[in-house]
Amino acid sequence: MTTEKIFFREAIARAMREEMRKNERIFIIGQDVGAFGGSYREFDGLFAEFGAARVRDTPVAEAAMVGVGVGAAAAGHRPLVSITYMDFMMLGFDPLINYGAKLRYKTGGQLTAPVIVKTTAGAKGQGVAHSQCIEAWLMSVPGLKVVAPSTPADAYGLLKAALREDGPVVFMDHKRLFPVAGEVPLSEGIVPIGHAHVCRAGADVTITTHSFMTRVALEAAKLLEADGISAEVIDLRTLAPLDMRTVADSVSRTGALLTLEEGQVTCGVGLEVIGRIHELLGPIPSARIGALPAPVSSNRVLETACLPDAQRVSNAARTLLGKLAGRSGGKIANFVPNSQ
């Protein structure tokens, strides 16, 4: 056997444990990371093995937590700052974006901040300020890398890769990924940053996505298969820098692109992917699907109404392909309303 099946949280703990054993400069700070082991038990066992100096609980103070992490990184350590909810990353934007991401540039190469901000995004019944996916806001920051695994193997591999980077990396996981179990290589399986993954081959339409929505895309692909539509699903895995080669290779074969994200489509991940595909390949028919333009309520009915699901995604793909079949001469499909 070359893999073991483990929970998503165990993949994170394993990556941290292995790297912390090898490199004593790596440490973790955040709320409830110590004896509690992390809100999702993603740091289980680390406090017991590495102690309070390297697995430190902090008060609720995201601006200072991120700043302390960035400063310690600039001074030679490799901290991981755990921000329990991605919504509260906003409080740490100043030190991360104004200092961390710009440090190498503004010092003319004298300093750099190899810090990881690990944060959990996504909707799971916790309400308007505890549900957001704001990774699109981060993709345009020069100097900042952003990764988003959708499986335990990728969480393990990308976290290891992130811990080897020279500058700041945002590692985004998702509340709905923690119940997931998956096979993780027994040997060290580093997933390189900047590489997307074709997780389902197909011929008729390319669906690009990331994080929890990858699982929704795969379900949608099954629904489409029943209708004789073959969807290729690409898990982007890294949002900055995007792997446009893998996406372009796929879209040049399928001829149609549907982008899926849990966040807002306005200025979203999908819009960036479509924009770059159009620059590379011309006006390929494309469409975006994401959350409706509303805050994500904790109300079960409203949360479900707001977010993409497999049915809506497959409908969006059908509509895109319907327009493709009906068109003459290369018109671009319009934005697909999520209400379909």
């Binding site: 601006a63 302390v68 400063g71 310690a72 030679g76 540039y105 003319g108 004298q110 300093l111």
Partner: protein, 303 residues
Amino acid sequence: MLRSMMLIRAFEQALARRNDHGFQLLSSGEEAVAVGLCSALTGNDQLLTGGRSIGPALARGLAPDRVMAELLGRSSGTNRGKGGRGHLADPKAGFFGAHAVVGGNISIAVGVALSMQMSGSDGIVAILFGDGASGVGALHESLNIAAIWNLPVLFVCNNNQFSVSTPRSAALAPRNISDIGVAFGMPSRTIDGMDVELVADVAREAAAKIRAGSGPQFLECVSYRFSSHSTTARETRSREELASIKSLCPIERHMKGLLAAGIIDRDSEAGLDSEVADIVAGALAFADASEFPDPAEVLTDVW
């Protein structure tokens, strides 16, 4: 320390006289704070500042040539011309750097101190910020973390009593800014920032205790700003007020003291004047002879 303050004054005034001086925050009147503080720092320590960085950078011993080149945008500057005054840095010389976001460098400084503590270094971190930064949330969060983790940080508030146009009394509730440090349980003092020997003595005492592991301290130095906040900000004070303020010059005060004590005489004073003038002239000449960065550098050192 006299020479250091005189160098800062002469350097900044020469810079301000140029047409291409750019957007600068000058320290005239506040030299004693930077110089007194830096006299307490060793080679193992790191100094971080806000945007009023030129005085502290020179006080810390950065080469005036390379500071001037940086301020005038030359690639021979400390930051290859890419940071300017707002981000001056020379970490190898113990000047971890300036950061132009008001209060933005304070949590960074605490992180640097954490790294030093974890490395077992006996260095300390001094973070210099103004009264204008003292209302920033990150200051309070950083004081708290430095206190609970017993970090080797000297928080130095250079209270020049104005945040651009807002007088300190209109901006901050505590009677003394150092009261903020008291709230977090650390030794905190307010002193006259126009007296370089006092600043030096107090800073050295604090630094020694911090170096010995006693935890962070807060030092407020009350000073006077001789010019407006920046080269683009309008002056808000009257001529009379400014004249009165300038009579408190820390350089003249220190010089008088040294003369009275017989430590220097008029000849050595003149000697210092001319030495400092030469250094500044040399810095300007170095900068003027230096190239601007190649436009291709716009994309280097991003990642």
